[in-house]
Subunit: 231 residues, 2 copies
Amino acid sequence: MPQTPHLEKHFTASATIRDIVIGMADGLTVPFALAAGLSGAIDSSRVVITAGLAEIAAGSIAMGLGGYLAARTDAEHYAAELAREKRETIEIPEEETREVVELFEQYGVPHESATEAAHALRQDRKRWVDFMMRFELGLEPPDPKRARVSALTIGLSYIAGGLVPLTPYFFTRTPATGLLVSIAVTLLALLVFGYVKGTFTVRRPLRSAWQTAVVGGLAAAAAFAIAKFIA
Amino acid sequence: MPQTPHLEKHFTASATIRDIVIGMADGLTVPFALAAGLSGAIDSSRVVITAGLAEIAAGSIAMGLGGYLAARTDAEHYAAELAREKRETIEIPEEETREVVELFEQYGVPHESATEAAHALRQDRKRWVDFMMRFELGLEPPDPKRARVSALTIGLSYIAGGLVPLTPYFFTRTPATGLLVSIAVTLLALLVFGYVKGTFTVRRPLRSAWQTAVVGGLAAAAAFAIAKFIA
């Protein structure tokens, strides 16, 4: 993958963009597929719309509230580990120092400079604990406001995504016509969404565009086939 | 949160357990809520079952394939960053060494031992690059087989979860009776699932149990209210 190494920053998608992607990816896909499936099996736009909106309500709450609880769990996990590391630097400082020395030695730092670095770390308990959290456990301090913002972002993105494939059924006479318009509109939306998402992650937007559309198409095809089979 | 610090390992849920939790949490919740919503609005078990199975197909593919692509994106992101770090240790080794020194100095390691440690790291390029990946960028090497296993685990967990709330509608005469049995069975399943999930994360299984049940209940109530309102 060609890159321009020095102009470019090491990229990590912001948490908000990640939440929008999470919510919208599923919001565009699942209600689309459900509506497509039902419109092949049941000849009533009202049923398709009812099921679609019920799904959007259920999915946005499940994902949003799920995101909220997951973020809170992360924050609590961090707090618990932080308290434990703090306690350990007080109760068993020698053992904790040895862990730092070993961590450095794993990467070829000779025992003496590893020991020196570890003893320098011990001078400031807060920094020592921060170091253990980040480098021994690989945990980053969570943003306390994340949980609520994350929940809302994921939930609203799911709703926004889900209304795209559903809207055509409001304005067309039969589910069959609705389905055709919905397929066109949603595939376009999936391509655009996948393209934008791709610029944020591995910088291969075109591949991301068609992959996202394929996932949506496959989900819709599977839902359609199963509904048709039952009906 | 009281803990027994020394018997207990720092816990991180295995990737497989995380995937099962991701798939099953949504699988138990969304098809449950959708079926509940429809059964309040449309008096046909066949419609409820058709919509439910279509949703399970759509949701499992969206989540499973979504998980597959996400895991692959992670792996590619890691590979790209690894290649870049490797190139930088060859092209601008002094700058990279300075980054390591600064990283240590942030945590109070004095300049001299930080420089010594950084120069020790430089002796072995592989370890040096590994060190940068983990400690500068905070990236762990991904398991190359993860993507496919992750997709299957999430998708199958979604299906397994989704069949729980839907099964009662197969065996009851009216959607209303199906709904009552489905609520009982699914709330029980959510409580058990939440409890087990809770033992893996913050070790507060009871709170996790009722929270998981509340998310499912709220999603179902919202879907029910919206469907009822439209119909």
